[in-house]
Amino acid sequence: MLTITNLHASAGDKEILKGISLTINAGEVHAIMGPNGSGKSTLAQVIAGHPGYEVTAGTIEYLGQDLLELEAEERAQAGVFLAFQYPIEIPGVTNAYFLRAAYNEIRKAHGQPELDPIEFLDVMEEKLKVVEMDASMMQRSVNAGFSGGEKKRNEILQMAVLAPKLAVLDETDSGLDIDALRIVAEGVNKLKRPDNATIVVTHYQRLLNYIVPDHVHVLAGGRIIKSGGKELALELEAKGYDWLLEPVGA
């Protein structure tokens, strides 16, 4: 589904990703772990098409297309979803309106008719249950005045509504208490299908107790320095990152 080959990316003069290669197949869950500043979030943002990063070398192929050729909204319409580490506030625009606008853009891109507010309500009702959210949340402005946990749940709600093929969760666990973490993780698990894939970017192993990865990659200094199965995450939890970092510096 997604093939990243020798990806280099910079922000300003600073190279952050220094040759990432990664293949993700439909039905898989990949965890990307690593210490702060390793480039995890940058990788997530580059996949989603953040304008602040310049890809200087390498390719990303997504379902047979050159992903890097697409604008951010075209990627979203093609089924790429980024759950933001810091979801953005849009005062004055209701969640309901925002979600329907996004939903209809994606339907339009696939030649499907747009849904009117009443039809959309039915779609919403079902999805709200996935993240245990109250319908009243839909009338609040997008993320404005939301608590940290509410913002993250709102991201997963958007994911549930937009039904992406490739979901990238950028530190979705950070700042969540255990209940919110459980709700978010269960939401992700419920949305898992054989034809979609998930990338979980995280600093901590904690989330992976709930979302069990098929593959774990450790990112440091802009490179993947180790890949393995879910047991690698447990090893990292026990030993930290230092034992992996030393050989790189040597």
Partner: protein, 477 residues
């Protein structure tokens, strides 16, 4: 990103056409003779001519205000024409007699004056240059006892009402432009809603400047008697011309005990080109006086004019009276706006709310200037002010000049202001959900203006969103 913002905010002015019509236009220049001529053309009574002359003499002693945060070349008041009227317009004509060329003009502006096509639920007074072309729905209004007619007609038919209230809120000596207006005003609208009557229709005036080098000086007087209520809408457009044109209007509102007046404006005068050539100088005095338990609410969407100088205000004279001001002001290109409000709390337990949203793009300069004054006797007065600015691009400016003057300790005032830009991060977030940049920007701007748009009557809300090039469907609730 900035390219798409530019294209969004640089929409072509759609109302810039000129109507080719024969006009009765007096020569440029301003003297007592000009004023006598205007008064004679309008066949006015002596008292009104005297009032005009007093205003003119006062105006001659006054100087143009220099405190607004706007710059423009000196205005040569002798180079302007102070009266221009389509020759075909006769006093007291019925709408069936209106020149088809004029009807076509209003059709093009989206205002139908003919019986079949007019907006239901709205009565319209159409002002073309210096005169009223006609007023619709008069008979429907008459059934309710509501008087809605051109100012000239009011002077002829209801002189006692005009004489009683003219200048009672904005005296001719109030300021430079109000004095000028008082001297030379040519027409305008007059509204009287009798005691206890809720006006069955929204009333609307549509102002159109057509003639070149002609100033428009209309005067609107709205009187809501005790317990009455009325909603009034005002729209404005002008042709694209290379010269600046002067618009110095006065609006007076009298809300007697327990009356409610809601005044909404969508101002889209020609703004001039991006270099600042041409466009309307919009120097307007709007003020209402609210007596006991009365409420006056101003809502404005200001997108046009080269220069806007305008502070719709409320004198909260009676106890428990309420004043509101909701404003969206957009400047783009070389536009400059210095706009805001004054809330003067005189009575006890008076309340006022000010919500101002300024959007600056291009090289536009947007200033909010507001005064909230609580006089010593205004016990229990309350004001809430929120004024937010949004900047699009880095060549524009946003300025906030609030004056808060409190002389009663039981008053409660809160003022909040913020300035922000449309965030790159907000746009990226929307894009990551499948919206393109234009859609993202329109969504963010709509959200920013939401609190003001929801105060507009439905048909105006639609016009306002078209003006801003934004889709508000479902986001305004």
């Amino acid at each position: 990103m900035s390219a798409s913002i530019e294209s969004l905010v640089n929409k072509e002015y759609a109302y810039g056409f000129v109507t080719d019509i024969e006009s009765d236009t007096i020569p440029p220049g301003l003297s007592e003779a000009t004023i006598r001529l205007i008064s004679a053309k309008k066949e006015e009574p002596e008292w009104l001519l005297d009032w005009r002359l007093k205003a003119f003499r006062r105006w001659q002693t006054m100087t143009e205000p220099r405190w607004p945060n706007v710059t423009y070349d000196p205005i040569d008041y002798q180079a302007h024409t102070y009266y221009s009227a389509p020759k075909s317009v006769k006093p007291l004509q019925s709408l069936d007699e209106v020149d088809p060329e004029l009807l076509k003009t209003y059709e093009k502006l989206g205002i139908s004056l003919t019986e079949q096509k007019r907006l239901s639920g709205v009565a319209v007074d159409a002002i073309f240059d210096s005169v009223s072309v006609g007023t619709t729905m008069k008979s429907e209004l008459a059934k309710a006892g509501v008087i809605f007619c051109s100012f000239g007609e009011a002077v002829r038919e209801h002189p006692e009402l005009v004489q009683k209230y003219l200048g009672s809120v904005v005296p001719y000596s109030d300021n430079f432009f109000a004095a000028l207006n008082s001297a030379v005003f040519s027409d305008g609208s007059f509204v009287y809603v009798p005691k206890g009557v809720t006006c069955p229709l929204d009333l609307s005036t549509y102002f159109r400047i057509n003639a070149a080098n002609t100033g428009q000086f209309e005067r609107t007087l709205i009187v809501a008697d005790e317990g009455a209520s009325v909603s009034y809408l005002e729209g404005c457009t002008a042709p694209k011309r290379d010269e600046h044109q002067l618009h110095a209007a006065v609006v007076e509102i009298v809300a007697l005990d327990r009356a409610t007046v809601k005044y909404s404006t969508v101002q889209n005068w020609y703004a001039g080109d991006s270099e600042g050539k041409g466009g309307i100088y919009n120097f307007v005095t709007k003020r209402g006086k609210a007596l006991t338990g009365a409420k006056i609410s101003w809502t404005q969407v200001e997108t046009g004019s080269a220069i806007t100088w305008k502070y719709p205000s409320v004198i909260l004279q009676g106890d428990d009276s309420v004043g509101e001001f909701y404003s969206v002001a957009v400047v783009n290109g070389a536009q400059q706006a210095d706009t805001g409000t004054k809330m003067i709390h005189i009575g006890r337990n008076t309340r006022s709310t000010i919500i101002s949203k300024g959007i600056s793009a291009g090289r536009g300069q947007n200033s909010y200037r507001g005064q909230v004054k609580v006089l010593p006797k205004a016990a229990g007065a309350r004001n809430y002010t929120q004024c937010d600015s949004m900047l699009i691009g880095n060549r524009c400016g946003a300025h906030t000049f609030p004056y808060i003057e409190v002389a009663n300790n039981s008053a409660t005032l809160e003022h909040e202001a913020s300035t922000s830009k449309i965030g790159e991060d907000q746009i990226f977030y929307c894009k990551a959900r499948g919206l393109n940049a234009e859609h993202a920007i329109s969504l963010i701007v709509a959200g920013f203006c939401k609190e003001v748009f929801k105060e507009l009557p439905m048909e105006f809300a639609l016009e306002a969103q078209q003006l801003l090039g934004i889709s508000l469907e479902g986001s305004v609730g």
